[in-house]
């Protein structure tokens, strides 16, 4: 059953009790939280995802987001993320409960799922080919990703590019798209129908909100994609949308450095990474206007089709 079929009160009750079982991409979660903001975030953003009752026997990650049991809670309400009893992060203000869940899930995947080569990059797909968008924070990567998936590209992930070590294909992990600071308003204006949840302020990344992943991307979350492009976006005020080719070797080095587990995979990391680069066209991409950027991406996709 889908999460949206659970009445909100029932979702809150199950979540606060034994928890719910939820599938995102190749991973199953058992998720428990007594915090209403978490239930609210799930109801708003995870409606299309498959849920089962907590009696479901097996889950990859058992996670919870709850108030820590220290004296601080009386002074300043906080929230703490737990991965099956492990607490990899310091508690955060209660207001950041939902972003903390998202960051925590990313942490689980990037520190455990070594059956993939995991690159720190957004990834979107059209006509069966995936565009990998690795870029440092502040480059406009999330904004571009949100713009593309609101314009017919399929969201594979906004943060974690999972490359199967067996097949070399990209495994989707479509979860809510994280938007920061000005991007929130840019995307609201780009598409007034996009659903963006309540923002959390003063996080380490500034103001953070999440955009609901497109329904089609969630429904097709088990359908892998072939690597087509590696594109480094850079937003620059007033810049026309320009793609300029870059060296495959340099791009490979960048991906290796920005992979979460390249060195952990040893020789296999090199094999999977080079096989990916061999199939991909590599570009630097400068843009000032989101609509122009989307049009440039659409032209790329059409060219590979013909």
């Amino acid at each position: 059953m889908k999460l949206l079929q659970l009445p909100p009160a029932e979702l809150r009750r199950q979540l606060a009790g034994a928890g719910i079982w939820l599938r995102t991409g190749p991973f199953s979660l058992k998720l428990q939280s007594r915090i209403p903001r978490v239930a609210e975030g799930l109801a708003e953003l995870y409606g299309q995802f498959e849920v089962r009752s907590a009696h479901e026997a097996f889950a990859d990650f058992h996670v919870s987001v709850n108030p820590p049991t220290n004296l601080r809670r009386w002074l300043r309400p906080q929230v703490s993320f737990s991965f099956d009893g492990m607490r990899p992060f310091k508690p955060l203000p209660r207001d950041q409960a939902f972003p903390m869940l998202e960051w925590g899930l990313n942490w689980c995947v990037s520190t455990q799922a070594h059956h993939f080569l995991i690159i720190h990059a957004a990834v979107v797909e059209k006509n069966g080919l995936a565009a990998i968008l690795p870029a440092p924070p502040g480059s406009g990567k999330s904004t571009l990703t949100a713009g593309l998936v609101l314009s017919g590209w399929r969201l594979l992930s906004d943060e974690l590019t999972l490359i199967s070590r067996k097949t070399g294909l990209i495994q989707p992990l479509p979860r809510p798209v994280s938007l920061k600071n000005q991007s929130i308003e840019v995307i609201r204006q780009f598409d007034p129908n996009a659903y963006i949840n309540r923002a959390s302020h003063d996080t380490i990344k500034g103001t953070v909100a999440h955009m609901r992943p497109p329904r089609d991307s969630v429904l097709r979350q088990h359908e892998p994609a072939r690597p087509g492009w590696v594109i480094f976006p850079q937003w620059q005020a007033g810049a026309p949308a320009t793609l300029s080719p870059r060296s495959q070797a340099q791009t490979f080095m960048f991906l290796a450095q920005n992979a979460f587990n390249y060195s952990q995979l040893g020789v296999d990391g090199f094999r999977v990474g080079t096989a990916l680069i061999d199939q991909a066209e590599c570009y630097d991409f400068r843009y000032g206007q989101l609509r122009e950027a989307v049009a440039a991406f659409d032209r790329l996709a059409e060219r590979r089709l013909s």
């Binding site: 199953s28 026997a57 097996f58 310091k90 455990q112 059956h115 040893g266």
Partner: protein, 365 residues
């Protein structure tokens, strides 16, 4: 939850064939306990050896594959790191002895399979410590971010200098001059340990302890450690070391004699007792009878059973009962009690309780 789920991981290590009858919820618990215990990769290897890899259900398989990937990588990294350490210490006049996990890798022992590492432990004679430390510093290792109190404490009382971390690779070396602190109840003579060290093939200048000494060191370490985050993993190390060494027909008497000589019969007694309890390690009956004189009195033993049967279990909620927190505290106090006399212990614990939690410079998140 079925009552067996508490010791599911230990049961599985004892009789891996049982996995062919496991339900999904048993696989769920097994993966979680094994992850908490740091034993996922070793369990994967165990299944492989028993021809059971195909029995792992698809949903659980990647957890084992991923852990094995990490363990393989760490093993390669440890080999490489050992060469770096050997190069850094090429001018050391004394012998360089590698201890614990890195030694198992260097010596190609079964105990290296599926093992994860936090650091590399080496043993050098005390008089060569300053030379070893400065050579390592020149090669890029430096003292980690300990408080001044901790650094002083290490140098004054411990059997090792503060851990050193490599500035680029971030690997950590613990440089020891003995296997127990100077202040501990037992004083195994480091010179005796060094005298029987064995050269490692393929790594000239690098030595490991003799088979019995390796086992005694591992047992001593385990039963003097206050935190035991990976107690069961360390027991499986011992299990693998013992099964490997016991191929020699006179191994067990040699082990008992050596334990007596090094004043380590008590830790050996505990190790064998809990190896039998958790892992069914084959130990000759005569061996336990021979160690009876090293056993504590009956009341102490009952208390130790209460503690160790809990703290050596995986640190996972499914393995805990109402007494687990008390048992962990008990193990912590016992370890400190064994490691230093009360006139040192009490000020140290007070400092740890009231001064250390409030450092002047807050640590970054």
């Amino acid at each position: 939850m079925k009552s067996t789920s508490r010791d599911l991981l230990a049961c599985t290590l004892r009789s891996p064939d049982a996995i062919s009858r496991f339900s999904s919820s048993e696989w769920d618990i097994l993966v979680r306990q094994a992850r908490a215990a740091g034993l996922l990769a070793r369990l994967a290897h165990h299944f492989h050896q028993h021809g059971l890899t195909a029995t792992i259900p698809d949903v659980a398989r990647w957890h084992f594959d991923a852990a094995k990937t990490l363990a393989d990588k760490q093993r390669t990294a440890v080999c490489w790191e050992l060469q770096q350490i050997r190069a850094a210490l090429a001018d050391l006049d004394g012998p360089l002895i590698v201890l614990k996990g890195a030694a198992y890798v260097a010596a190609g022992l079964p105990a290296a399979e599926g093992r994860l590492f936090n650091d590399i432990d080496i043993l050098v004679p005390r008089e060569y410590l300053p030379q070893a430390e400065s050579s390592l510093m020149l090669a890029g290792w430096h003292a980690t971010g300990l408080s001044e109190y901790d650094k002083r404490y290490y140098r004054r009382w411990m059997h090792e200098i503060p851990p050193m971390q490599h500035i680029q690779r971030e690997t950590v070396i613990d440089v020891h001059h003995a296997i127990l602190p100077d202040t501990a109840r037992y004083h195994p003579d480091s010179a005796k340990l060094r005298s029987r060290a064995v050269a490692v093939e393929g790594l000239p200048g690098v030595h490991v302890l003799a088979a019995e000494d390796r086992i005694l060191h591992s047992a001593t370490h385990l039963f003097h450690d206050g935190e035991l985050p990976h107690g069961l993993r360390d027991l499986t190390d011992l299990d693998l070391l013992l099964r490997d060494a016991a191929v020699d027909h006179d191994f067990w008497p040699r082990l008992a004699a050596r334990a007596g000589e090094l004043q380590l019969s008590r830790p050996l007694f505990y190790a064998l007792r809990y190896l039998r309890y958790f892992l069914d390690t084959p130990i000759p009956a005569g061996m336990m009878a021979g160690l009876a004189s090293a056993a504590p009195n009956r009341a102490t033993l009952a208390l130790m059973d209460g503690i160790f049967k809990r703290v050596l279990a995986p640190a996972h909620a499914s393995c805990a009962d109402a007494f687990t927190p008390a048992a962990r505290l008990g193990a912590f106090i016992r370890a400190h009690w064994l490691r230093m006399p009360p006139q040192l212990l009490i000020p140290h614990l007070l400092h740890k309780a009231f001064v250390s939690p409030y450092p002047r410079a807050p640590k970054p998140a």
